[in-house]
C-alpha cells in the first residue's frame, strides 16, 4: 500500500491538527505545510484535501472566512469550538493507534 493511501485515512486528523496549531489556513497553505513538515515525504493531493475540508465544514468542525488577497478571493478555514475538541480527540486516537501499531510491528519497542 502506498503512503498516500495510508495518509488518506488520517487526512481529517492532520487538517484538524494543523488548524489547531495555526489560527487559520487556506487550502494551498495546508498542502505546503504538510510537505514542509514531512520534508516532502507526505504530499496531500488537492483531490483529497478539498472534499475533506468541505466535509469538515459541513459537519461544523470548521468555519470559513474570505479575504481579498492580490486582487482575488482567498478562503480561510479555522476550527470551531467543536472542531477544537474533535482535533484533540482525533489526535489522541491516532497517537494511540500508532503506538499499538508500533507494538505490533516492533514488539521490543512496545515492551519498553
Amino acid at each position: 500500500m502506498s503512503s498516500s493511501k495510508l495518509l488518506k485515512g488520517s487526512l481529517a486528523t492532520i487538517i484538524l491538527k494543523l488548524l489547531k496549531e495555526n489560527e487559520k489556513m487556506y487550502g494551498y497553505e495546508i498542502t505546503q505545510r504538510v510537505k514542509e513538515i514531512t520534508a516532502g515525504e507526505f504530499k496531500i493531493t488537492e483531490g483529497a484535501l478539498y472534499p475533506t475540508l468541505h466535509k469538515l465544514e459541513a459537519e461544523g468542525m470548521l468555519s470559513t472566512e474570505t479575504q481579498k488577497v492580490d486582487n482575488r478571493i482567498r478562503k480561510y478555514y479555522s476550527l470551531t469550538k467543536e472542531g477544537n475538541a474533535e482535533a484533540q480527540t482525533k489526535v489522541a486516537e491516532l497517537e494511540e493507534f500508532l503506538l499499538n501499531l508500533q507494538k505490533l510491528l516492533n514488539p521490543k519497542l512496545g515492551m519498553g
Binding site: 487556506y26 487550502g27 494551498y28 505546503q32 493531493t45 488537492e46 483531490g47 478539498y50 472534499p51 468541505h54 466535509k55 465544514e57 459541513a58 474570505t66 479575504q67 481579498k68 488577497v69 492580490d70 486582487n71 482575488r72 478571493i73 482567498r74 478562503k75
Partner: protein
C-alpha cells in the same frame, strides 16, 4: 507577486473549460492554482496545468467530483435548514401564523369556490417565493456581468433553487398522475367541493412552504455579489 494578465487569462479559460461555473468553487480553485503558479513560477503555464495541477486534483473528473461533492453537501444543508424552519412553524409563537393562515383559508373556502383557495395559496406560497428567487438569480447574474467576472451564478443560490423545484414537481405528479388515476380529471372539482378540509390543509401547507422559502432566502440567498 500577482499573476500576469496572460497567466490570469489562461487560468480563467482553463477553469471555464473544465466546467467550473459557480462562484464558490471558481474562487477557491482560482486562488489555489494562482498561488501555486506564483510559488513555482512555471515557464509554460498550460504545461504546468497539465503535468502538475491536473494530476493532483485527480484529473478533470477529480476537479468536477470536488465541485459536485461540495454542491451535494450544500444541498443537504439547505434541505436540513428548510426542514428546521418548516417544523419551527409548529412551535410557539409561529403556530399563531399557521392558525391565522388556516382560519383565513377556511373562511375563503366557505365564501368562494375551492379552486380560488388553491389559486390564492399557490400565488402566496409558490409564485411569490419563486419570483423573489428569480429576481435574486437575475440580480446576481447582472452584478457578475457588470464586473466582468468569469462566472455568473452562485452555488448556494442554485441549492436553494433546487428546493423551489420540489413543490412544482410534486404538483406536476399530483396533477398529471395521481388525480387522473385515483380521482379522475373531470371529478376533481367535485372532489374538492366534497372534501373542503383537504383543500384547506393542502393550501395551508403550501403557504407554510412559501414562508419557509422566504425565510431561507433571507438567511442564505446571495442577491448581490459579495465575498463568499
Amino acid at each position: 507577486m500577482s499573476l500576469t494578465t496572460t497567466q490570469h487569462n489562461i487560468l480563467v479559460k482553463y477553469l471555464k473549460d473544465v466546467g467550473i461555473g459557480h462562484q464558490e468553487p471558481f474562487e477557491e480553485f482560482y486562488d489555489h492554482i494562482a498561488t501555486a503558479i506564483e510559488k513555482d513560477k512555471p515557464e509554460d503555464v498550460k504545461k504546468y496545468f497539465r503535468e502538475v495541477i491536473q494530476p493532483s486534483f485527480g484529473g478533470v473528473q477529480g476537479m468536477l467530483d470536488v465541485v459536485n461533492e461540495q454542491s451535494k453537501i450544500r444541498r443537504i444543508a439547505i434541505l436540513k435548514r428548510a426542514k428546521e424552519i418548516f417544523l419551527s412553524l409548529f412551535g410557539w409563537p409561529a403556530i399563531g401564523f399557521v392558525m391565522v393562515s388556516f382560519i383565513l383559508l377556511q373562511t375563503l373556502s366557505n365564501r368562494f369556490d375551492e379552486k380560488y383557495v388553491l389559486i390564492y395559496a399557490a400565488i402566496l406560497g409558490l409564485f411569490i417565493p419563486a419570483s423573489v428567487m428569480m429576481y435574486g438569480v437575475f440580480s446576481f447574474y447582472k452584478d457578475c456581468k457588470k464586473q466582468q467576472l468569469p462566472y455568473r451564478a452562485n452555488d448556494l443560490n442554485y441549492s436553494i433553487l433546487l428546493l423551489m423545484v420540489i413543490p412544482f414537481n410534486a404538483l406536476s405528479i399530483v396533477g398529471n398522475l395521481l388525480i387522473p388515476i385515483f380521482i379522475g380529471r373531470d371529478n376533481f372539482g367535485q372532489f374538492l367541493t366534497a372534501y373542503p378540509a383537504i383543500t384547506v390543509c393542502f393550501s395551508t401547507l403550501v403557504l407554510l412552504f412559501g414562508f419557509t422559502c422566504l425565510k431561507l432566502f433571507k438567511e442564505n440567498f446571495t442577491f448581490k455579489l459579495e465575498m463568499i
